[in-house]
């Protein structure tokens, strides 16, 4: 039997003793804080008004985070024998580590330092100086009350498994895998399609240099495929991720190819002999056919085909087996089952890419209804020499060369009806298309754009080049694409109805072919993927990085990195750079051999837990298990990331979080309300 739960806040406060020696440090942050908050007054107030709570010194300094600022704290810890430190500065996200390290350097346990934000939460959000100063005092007071109840903590140290999982075999994932493998560490590269290569393998040319996409990509694919440090798992999907940084256990489903990889030589006879033609919706964007046993394209890595059991005649009707009959190495195995693999890895790079915006949703553009309206990916296949038309840009009938082509930018992007964001690559993609159409057909090309976005190296030069080639640019959002003529010259054409905002009039432009420069959107299953890996998505569905500027590679889950379009739309160079950056992070972690993790953890008081199981399904890190015998829930401290979800949910109050105890939080609130001062002085 312990203290009654309903004890009033005032009582709790009077029980705590002012035995600590606390230093309060108020940062100017240049004028960021000092421009709004009277920092000197806050420091003096803390020293005077919070003296009875143990504050022995209050100081202000221009930049507390500078070496001089840190030295100031270190000196005070030693000379004034401080036992607690409160720094009133920016968000703990930025400098908590800095000040904890300063405390550690001076011999104080780093967890006895509390950073309270008077920048993000005070000076940046207020203009009234007096009120902001009063609020800063309250925030400091809250920090003082909280830090009194801090306990010294030791970081947990865990070893890091040297293997890495890379999910997604597009260019970002390939780059990441290669960098890590080249450094001498093992990589599992998991790809759900039969081959790695991603979207880049579907393109003909890349902007702005017009390199052949396959020519620059396939060498990298081969390198990954043959690298001794890479285990390639194509036609495979990650089903489950358990564990934490340094020690992830990943369950991968290796889908049955129905082809024995050890025997298959990749000769291609099975594909040749397979009598079943299937429309290839993935690689050929629906414009071409593949067989029921197939490799998506000739340079596919690995070379082994997969069998599409939904369309295979044998699986449909029980007869055929042409592939088996003709296979020279007996590599076909109709009975092959999915395999479940369990991988141990220390770090994970997620590079699962994007889906193309579904242009059918913009019904006024007629895609899916008007045959000669194409999506960008369809056009990539049309213009690809290895594509269904051998690179001939023709209408849907497969033979007619267009005489006039309209390219519509921002389809599904920068549009309140669909996606608010800019898909980044569509302007350059549209320009590339204009160039290719012009070069190969001589047709008149119109580009319909809202704003031309050609940032980055050599992009705008490419725009100039396309301008000089004679492409016509119409600035305005296309209202409609129709095949209903109003004038004789529109007969038999598609008409692009657009407001030309530069000419200031409505125009109807007849063309033979329309290419929609469709935007990018998150994978259809991005949210499930995020949940599986314990990450979060923005409202758009892109994965959220740890910091939008300073850490666009890490996530809030330690040991999981993101690369390429999974984080947001980007072009190939950026995807490659991010893939390499993620690899550098992973290598940095592996090199450390072990890692110290925050000791902020949840734990269950076994006496109070009644096994109601409310918490069981909530943990994003799968750290909670239920002990059937004892009828209690347990938190695995190694898996717990200290997020506090279970602490908040536990109706019995049986779960508490280190460094976020009820006592600490409520005391901070009491401090904020200035209940620790007999006569609160309000501004």
């Amino acid at each position: 039997m312990t203290q009654h739960g309903g004890t009033s806040p005032k009582l709790a406060l009077s029980e705590s003793k002012g035995e600590e020696r606390i230093g309060v440090y108020v940062c100017h942050c240049g004028t960021n804080i000092a421009g709004v908050v009277d920092v000197q007054e806050v420091a003096e107030w803390a020293a005077a008004q919070l003296e009875h709570r143990g504050v022995v010194i209050g100081r202000e300094y221009k930049f507390m985070c500078s070496s001089l600022g840190q030295e100031l704290i270190e000196k005070d810890i030693k000379e004034l024998e401080l036992t607690r430190v409160v720094v009133a500065a920016c968000s703990p996200h930025l400098h908590e580590h800095t000040f904890r390290t300063a405390c550690k350097n001076a011999g104080l346990n780093p967890y006895l330092c509390e950073l309270v934000s008077i920048r993000e939460q005070v000076s940046w959000v207020h203009t009234d100086k007096a009120a902001a100063t009063a609020k800063a005092k309250a925030v400091v007071s809250g920090g003082v009350e909280r830090v009194i109840r801090h306990a010294p903590l030791e970081p947990l140290r865990v070893p890091i498994h040297p293997d890495t999982l890379v999910v997604g075999g597009g260019i970002a994932g390939i780059q990441s895998a290669l960098e890590i493998a080249d450094a001498g560490y093992h990589v599992y590269l998991v790809e759900r399609e039969p081959s790695i290569g991603g979207h880049m393998a579907q393109f003909d040319k890349t902007f702005p240099t017009l390199d052949c996409s396959a020519c620059i990509l396939t060498p990298k694919m081969v390198q990954v495929g043959t690298h001794p440090n890479v285990t390639l798992l194509t036609w495979s999907e990650v089903e489950k991720v358990d564990g934490f940084v340094g020690n992830f256990t990943v369950t991968v489903r290796k889908k049955a190819r129905k082809v024995i990889e050890d025997l298959c030589t990749g000769c291609g006879i099975c594909q040749e002999k397979c009598p079943k033609k299937v429309i290839d919706d993935v690689y050929e964007a629906g414009l071409g056919y593949r067989k029921a046993v197939y490799t998506p394209f000739p340079q596919a890595v690995p070379k082994y085909p997969v069998m599409d059991v939904e369309n295979c005649t044998y699986f449909e009707k029980g007869t055929c087996k042409a592939c088996e009959k003709f296979c020279p190495t007996n590599a076909i195995d109709f009975k092959q089952q999915d395999e479940i693999l369990t991988l141990q890895v220390g770090n994970i790079v997620l590079a699962t890419g994007y889906d193309l915006f579904d242009a059918r949703r913009v019904t006024n553009y007629g895609y899916g209804r008007l045959p000669n309206v194409f999506t960008s990916l369809e056009f990539e296949r049309l213009s690809n020499a290895a594509g269904p038309t051998n690179g001939n840009i023709v209408l849907r009938d497969g033979k007619t060369t267009p005489k006039a082509v309209g390219i519509v930018h921002c389809v599904g992007s920068r549009d309140r009806n669909f996606n608010n964001y800019c898909s980044v690559i569509c302007c350059m993609q549209g320009l590339k298309f204009a160039h290719l159409v012009h070069e190969r057909t001589g047709a008149i090309v119109y580009n319909f754009y809202i704003d031309m976005r050609t940032a980055y190296k050599a992009y705008d030069e490419f725009y100039q080049r396309v301008l000089e080639e004679g492409t016509l640019f119409v600035r305005g959002k296309v209202a409609e694409i129709t095949d209903v003529p109003r004038r004789p010259d529109e007969d038999g054409h598609l008409i692009v109805q657009v407001e030309d905002t530069l000419a200031g009039k409505q125009r109807r432009i007849p063309v033979d072919m329309v290419i929609l420069s469709t935007g990018l959107q998150p994978r259809y299953d991005a949210k499930e993927t995020a949940k599986r890996f314990g990450l979060s998505c923005s409202s758009d569905g892109w994965f959220i990085e740890k910091h939008p500027k300073l850490d666009p590679i890490s996530t809030m889950t330690e040991g999981i990195y993101i690369a390429g379009c999974v984080q947001g739309p980007k072009d190939i160079p950026s995807s490659v750079a991010q893939g390499a950056a993620a690899a550098a992070r992973v290598l940095g972690k592996i090199q450390q051999k072990e890692i110290s993790i925050e000791p902020v953890r949840a734990s269950v008081n076994q006496d109070q837990c009644s096994g109601c199981r409310i918490c069981n399904n909530l943990c994003p890190y799968n750290a909670i298990s239920f002990d059937e015998d004892r009828g209690v829930s347990l938190v695995n401290a190694a898996l717990c990331q200290g997020c506090g979800t279970c602490v908040a949910a536990c109706p019995a109050g049986a779960i508490s979080g280190t460094a976020f105890s009820n006592d600490q939080i409520l005391s901070q609130i009491e401090g904020l309300l200035l209940l620790n001062i007999d006569e609160p002085v309000t501004a």
Binding site: M1, T2, Q3, H4, G5, G6, T7, S8, P9, N605, D607, Q608, C609, S610, G611, C612, R613, I614, C615, N616, N617, L618, F626, G631, T645, A648, A649, C650, P651, A652, G653, A654, S656, N662, L666
Partner: protein
């Protein structure tokens, strides 16, 4: 007067159920009489406040105080009994956390009086309202004044022990009486001051025999109108059972009988705000992603204050609604 230790019991703003629960200990009540001299117990015997006022400070060994502090009379007697008692026990939900009378803290005192004297339930054509004092030929007569909010006992005076329940279970009362008698005989020691007595340290789920699984709730239902699985956790069946957050000690009587726990034993050990705990626990297991769907599920709880704060409003962090709080 004998030299037996003195015993008192008082009711403030309460229903009388606590006294019945004491009497319901059956022959155990004889032990009380055998070991104590009952000096003040308005429901059971006649006594005057002035008799209590005349007692020596600390002369009553044990006072069981039930009811919340709703009037100035309640407050006066609470302070008086505190002064005269060695051990003051907040007895029952009202004294502990406000209980159902505490729900009136959602309204201010004027609204409460208006509701009682001049709404559909009361025919009051002459607009007659009670007055706290009235002059009659014999002199001035007074009735107690209503306070702006109902307070729990420990919001008014220092409390030694807390005994929850609405009412406390008779077997728990009997056990506490036994304990006190053993202490008097030198066979046991009192628990530390501030302890919760006559209850468990876990939650009702701990005493509930229903099977429990991982919870996902797609709708909140009432106990009528659907088939209730007699062996499965009620909350899993969408019945908003408060047992998950409620202190153990009642042997899970309601859930065992097929009705949801309404939370009369108050917050579990260490819980600061009972209702907030429950809200976040229920919200955690709602299985829906779309806002509309979430709204539909939440509409299954038509009276959130009654569901989550039926017993604990006055003892919660907020204590009262804004209109009452501002006048307090």
């Amino acid at each position: 007067m004998s030299d037996k230790p003195k015993f008192a019991m008082y009711w403030a703003a309460s229903c009388g159920g606590c006294e019945i629960a004491v009497l319901n200990t059956n022959e155990k009540i004889l032990d009380v009489d055998a070991n104590f001299d009952v000096v003040f117990w308005p429901v059971a015997m006649d006594a005057k406040y002035k008799d209590v006022e005349a007692m020596q400070d600390g002369s009553i060994l044990l006072t069981l105080f039930n009811g919340g502090i709703r009037t100035d009379e309640n407050e006066h007697i609470a302070k008086l009994l505190r002064q005269k008692s060695k051990i003051l026990v907040a007895f029952g939900s009202c004294a502990n956390e406000g209980c159902v009378p505490g729900l009136a803290n959602l309204s201010d005192a004027r609204e409460i009086v208006h509701t009682a004297f001049n709404t559909v339930s009361t025919d009051n054509p002459k607009q007659v309202y009670p007055m706290t004092s009235y002059d009659v030929p014999e002199g001035e007569i007074c009735i107690p004044k209503i306070l702006p909010t109902l307070k729990t006992l420990d919001q008014v005076v220092d409390v030694d022990y807390y005994m929850p329940g609405c009412p406390p279970e008779s077997h728990q009362i009997a056990a506490v009486i036994d304990l006190v008698i053993q202490v008097l005989q030198g066979k046991a020691e009192l628990p530390p001051k501030g302890s919760v007595i006559g209850a468990g340290n876990s939650t009702v789920c701990d005493e509930c025999q229903r099977a429990r699984n991982v919870k996902t709730i797609t709708s909140f239902n009432r106990i009528f109108g659907q088939e209730i699985d007699p062996d499965l956790c009620l909350l899993e069946q969408g019945i908003p059972c408060n047992g998950v957050a409620t202190r153990s000690g009642c042997n899970a009587r309601c859930p065992t009988a097929g009705a949801q726990c309404i939370g009369c034993y108050g917050p579990a050990e260490g819980v600061v705000d009972y209702g907030a705990r429950l809200v976040s626990a229920f919200a955690s297991v709602i299985d829906a992603k779309e806002p509309d769907e979430i709204d539909r599920i939440l509409d299954g709880i038509p009276d959130p204050a009654g569901q989550f704060y039926r017993f604990n409003l006055a003892g919660s962090l907020l204590r009262a609604g804004k209109s009452a709080w501002e006048k307090a």
